[in-house]
């Protein structure tokens, strides 16, 4: 366990170094954060156009949380990048498990997601007249973090499949978070979907976490909030388990068919 934590730590240091090489706090704020805030505003304005504050509340909160999903799923690009930079073989041949190394590589993006989503949660609701139950609303960023972890595990799982098809990484990234945006209650309530599709959304990240946040903001029952959060954690753990198995299978397959190359 200690060894794995050390890999996570150095993976985080490495990813922070690489991240900060092309992103300063200024560029993060004025390009990345502003792009995410504008996206959330766009959907909130649709709610306003529909003439319903209830719609504004729904769309804004949904899209504020969805920001987390966008950042968390960037792990797909980072893990596939290992193959492109020629470090995959070295990772596989190292004594430590490569899954931990992969997990460590995207932690900065997870942090970026929490920061962006929290900023959006603090800044945008007053602009659109969304009322929050302060001071208890201060707990929401923690709930957003839980959603982020769950999305991160989902992204890692998708990455494990995409490693075999590196050219599909951008398609996979966009599809991954668009699926969450479309089906997990961000813009359209999950109750809108047919039963079979609703069953699918219940095993996707964000569905339960977002439901918990909505229930918390609406000052719903604590038990509802806790159950939904618990389900979100379970979904994250399940995606992590699939990711672990899938990474292992990817490496086994690579060793079998010779697709893990020195330097490629």
């Amino acid at each position: 366990m200690r060894d794995q934590l050390r890999v996570l730590k150095h993976g985080l240091i490495a990813s922070w170094t690489m991240y900060s090489a092309f992103q300063t706090w200024k560029t993060w704020t004025f390009t990345w954060l502003s792009r995410l805030l504008i996206q959330a505003c766009f959907y909130a304005l649709i709610g306003r156009m529909l003439g319903s504050q209830q719609q504004v509340d729904y769309l804004l909160i949904g899209n504020v949380v969805a920001i987390m999903a966008i950042d968390a799923t960037v792990v797909i690009l980072l893990t596939v990048g290992e193959r492109q930079s020629g470090t995959l073989a070295l990772m596989v041949a190292a004594p430590s498990t490569h899954l931990t190394a992969y997990l460590g590589r995207g932690l900065v993006n997870l942090g970026s997601g929490v920061a962006a989503s929290t900023t959006a949660f603090l800044v945008l609701p007053p602009l659109f007249g969304v009322r929050l139950p302060w001071p208890s609303a201060a707990v929401v960023p923690l709930m957003i973090f839980v959603v982020g972890l769950s999305c991160y595990c989902y992204g890692t799982c998708v990455a494990s499949f995409v490693l075999g098809f590196p050219s599909a990484r951008w398609l996979a990234l966009n599809l991954s978070y668009l699926v969450l945006m479309t089906f997990c209650g961000v813009n359209v309530p999950t109750s809108f979907w047919p039963d079979w599709l609703r069953a699918v959304t219940s095993v996707l990240p964000m569905t339960h976490g977002l439901a918990a946040i909505r229930a918390f903001i609406a000052e719903g029952q604590a038990s509802t909030v806790l159950v939904q959060l618990g389900l979100e954690v379970c979904v994250g753990v399940a995606w992590f388990a699939v990711a672990a198995v899938s990474f292992d299978r990817m490496v086994r397959r690579g060793r079998r068919d010779g697709t893990i190359e020195f330097g490629g």
Binding site: R6, S85, A89, G258
Partner: protein, 312 residues
């Protein structure tokens, strides 16, 4: 014995996609090889001979189709986790590095993947950086390094886990002559530390200089395993003459081949008598710098594998 390979075969199927359906290609064809502990062993052969495939199997990133391979007594298939603790990999070129990390960060990152505690990793990274002449550049981004310096980072990374067996796959690719000379010196030091080194290279001079024994591989099979000098003795009756001249000697009976490199003519002859004829011819034409020389590893390589083997 550090490496024991028995009857190792690896086949691939050509083509792309999840299940390639092309022709089957044999990369290793019943290859058998023993590398004793503390030996510098060279693997020589043309492109596609199977050298890198062998290294990949020994480093556990590729499974053999049949046969067995052991590293320090651990089977590369059944005990892959054990093997990984003892093997270091160094390959040539610029890939395999994170350009946005410094040399020190690179080593600390890979140290964590080799399960080295932080305190020890810090000391070891410092030692390796000093050993490879990178102390002054330790905190510079790797992407700003010259190709030779990047290769030194590769070397340091390969050594961070204190491996007992080091696999070098074309390690001097891109190195300037000075860096290549330093590399050869380093190989000697690593052997003195009791490590075993398996090195694939196209550079015959390098192999001749650093290797205790070399194995010539072609089409996945071992053609010969010997010391460089022992291999030279396998060159049959051929004799070589070297001279600083531009004279044409190809018409002399018994001359098999000629080559001029850096102003030095190198003549391959069929036997002693032909070599003497060449010497006489050159001396008669006033050439003063002329020698009969023993065959080099490169000559034996060319005899056994042919000119196509030199196509890198």
């Amino acid at each position: 014995m550090s490496v024991r390979v028995q009857n190792l075969t690896r086949t691939f199927r050509k083509g792309k996609g999840w299940r390639p359906k092309g022709d089957e290609v044999t990369a290793l064809d019943g290859l058998t090889l023993d590398v004793p502990t503390n030996e510098v062993h060279g693997l020589l052969g043309p492109n596609g001979a199977g050298k890198t495939t062998l290294c990949k199997i020994l480093s556990t990133i590729l499974l053999p189709t049949s046969g067995s391979a052991e590293v320090l007594g651990h089977d590369v298939v059944a005990d892959a986790a054990q093997v990984r603790q003892h093997v270091g990999i160094v390959f040539g070129g610029e890939r395999g590095l994170y350009g946005k990390l410094t040399a020190r960060q690179t080593l600390r990152y890979w140290a964590s993947l080799h399960k080295i505690p932080d305190a020890r990793a810090k000391v070891r990274a410092g030692e390796l950086l000093a050993r490879l002449g990178l102390t002054d550049k330790a905190d510079d981004l790797v992407e700003t390094f010259s190709r030779g310096m990047k290769q030194r980072v590769h070397l340091a990374r390969g050594l961070i886990g204190d491996p007992k067996l080091i696999l070098f796959d074309e390690p001097t690719t891109g190195m300037d002559p000075v860096a290549a000379r330093d590399f050869r010196k380093l190989i000697g030091e690593l052997r003195d530390e009791g490590r075993t080194i398996l090195i694939t290279t196209h550079d015959m001079d390098e192999a001749e200089e650093v290797c205790d024994r070399v194995t010539l591989i072609d089409k996945g099979r071992v053609l010969a395993t010997e010391s460089p000098r022992g291999l030279a003795a396998m060159s049959g009756l051929h004799r070589w003459v070297e001279a600083e001249t531009s004279l044409d000697v190809t018409a002399i009976p018994g001359v098999v081949d000629t080559e001029t490199r850096n102003g030095v003519l190198r003549v391959k002859t069929t036997d002693d008598q032909a070599a003497r004829a060449v010497l006489d011819f050159l001396l008669d034409h006033g050439v003063r710098s002329v020698h009969a020389v023993p065959p080099r590893l490169e000559d034996v390589y060319l005899d056994l594998i042919g000119r196509r083997g030199m196509e890198v």
